[in-house]
């Protein structure tokens, strides 16, 4: 018997997978990234439709409750995503600086007249 919250969450996950698929088709994300998100969302779907799965995993890993297991895994994933975002922002910053540098070097001021040799 599926409860209403399970239905809502399952529909949301299907929507999320469809969005990821559309981004993949538009070549906004690579196949590897699409696979990663598919695994994440399909795992979430299994957890939503069959909550005892989390309890089994929790018992296997020595964690008290299934909901704790979900929380720990979610936190780990979130931390990793924040880290990846930070790296991505750093890369973007370097790329902007590279562009700014190239523009600067290609447009120097006119050479000043006062230039002496010894």
């Amino acid at each position: 018997m599926i409860t209403s919250i399970q239905l809502v969450l399952a529909l949301f996950i299907i929507f999320a997978i469809s969005r990821a698929y559309l981004r993949f088709r538009e070549k906004v994300i690579t196949s590897a990234v699409f696979m990663l998100w598919s695994v994440v969302w399909l795992t979430a779907l299994i957890v939503v439709l069959s909550p005892p799965t989390t309890s089994k995993m929790a018992n296997f890993l020595g964690i008290g409750r299934g909901v704790d297991f979900v929380l720990y895994v979610s936190l780990a994933i979130l931390f990793y995503l924040v880290f990846r975002l930070y790296v991505m922002i750093e890369d973007l910053r370097h790329e902007i600086t590279y562009l700014v540098r190239q523009i600067a070097l290609q447009n120097p001021s006119k050479k000043p007249k006062r230039r002496r040799r010894t």
Binding site: H94, I96, K111, K113, R115, T118
Partner: protein, 226 residues
């Protein structure tokens, strides 16, 4: 022998003219010396003041940080086939009379990177500056294994080899330690020379902020982990 004095500047209109006109126009043993001001997206009239001082300038269209400005200067020096590149802070903290000293050390001691150290000779340095610099030296040693008495000094001289090989990514204050690491990685010879530090209320206000240490550490950690 060609030399370039690289002066990175961001909103330094109050003092930049004085700094630029104090720089040497000729030096013993150097046939051609040029000053290049890297205007790092200044919003005031730093650029106009530099042009008034009749120095070559290149401008970042937006502010990218001290490290980025220094690298632009190094790239400029590289494109001009320069033999020696000297970096010199634009806030009036350095004494231009130290430039011949660091060039001499580069040539006579066959060094590739000369650091003008503010802490090699006894002089009056504000306690907060002393502590933050000691901390930066320790962090540079722990993270990169390079010992330096002044890892954050703005006055350095690079040999032609160093200009070619040192490739740092740090765009803000984190680049100073990275330069030392790059020198070590490329087996370049590092020499330190004592220089004078001029602390005025203006240069103190412009220098490295104490709280900068935290984002710098985070950036280094992320670079190690990525």
């Amino acid at each position: 022998m060609k030399a370039q004095i690289i002066v990175p500047a961001f909103n330094e209109s109050q003092i930049i003219f004085k700094v630029l006109t104090s720089l040497p126009k000729k030096l013993k043993g150097i046939s051609d010396i040029e000053t290049i001001l890297v205007n790092d997206g200044s919003q005031d009239d730093t650029l106009e003041q530099a042009e008034k001082a009749k120095v070559q300038t290149v401008s970042h269209v937006i502010n990218r940080g001290l490290g980025a400005a220094i690298k632009t200067g190094i790239e400029w020096a590289k494109s001009k086939n320069t033999d020696i590149a000297i970096t010199f802070d634009s806030d009036g903290q350095h004494d231009s009379a130290d430039i011949p000293k660091i060039i001499k050390a580069l040539i006579t001691q066959k060094a590739d990177l000369v650091i003008g150290s503010r802490f090699l000779k006894k002089q009056k340095i504000p306690l907060d500056k002393l502590l933050i610099n000691k901390f930066a030296n320790l962090a540079t040693f722990l993270m990169f294994g390079v010992k330096s008495s002044d890892s954050q000094s703005g006055m350095r001289a690079f040999s032609k080899e160093a200009i070619k090989l040192i490739d740092f990514k740090g765009e803000r204050m984190d680049f100073s330690s990275e330069i030392l690491y790059e020198a070590k990685r490329n087996n370049l010879r590092i020499v330190e020379v004592p220089i004078k530090a001029i602390y005025t209320p203006y240069s103190r206000g412009k220098g490295q902020k104490h709280l900068n240490a935290i984002p710098i550490l985070i950036r280094f950690l992320v670079r190690f982990l990525r």
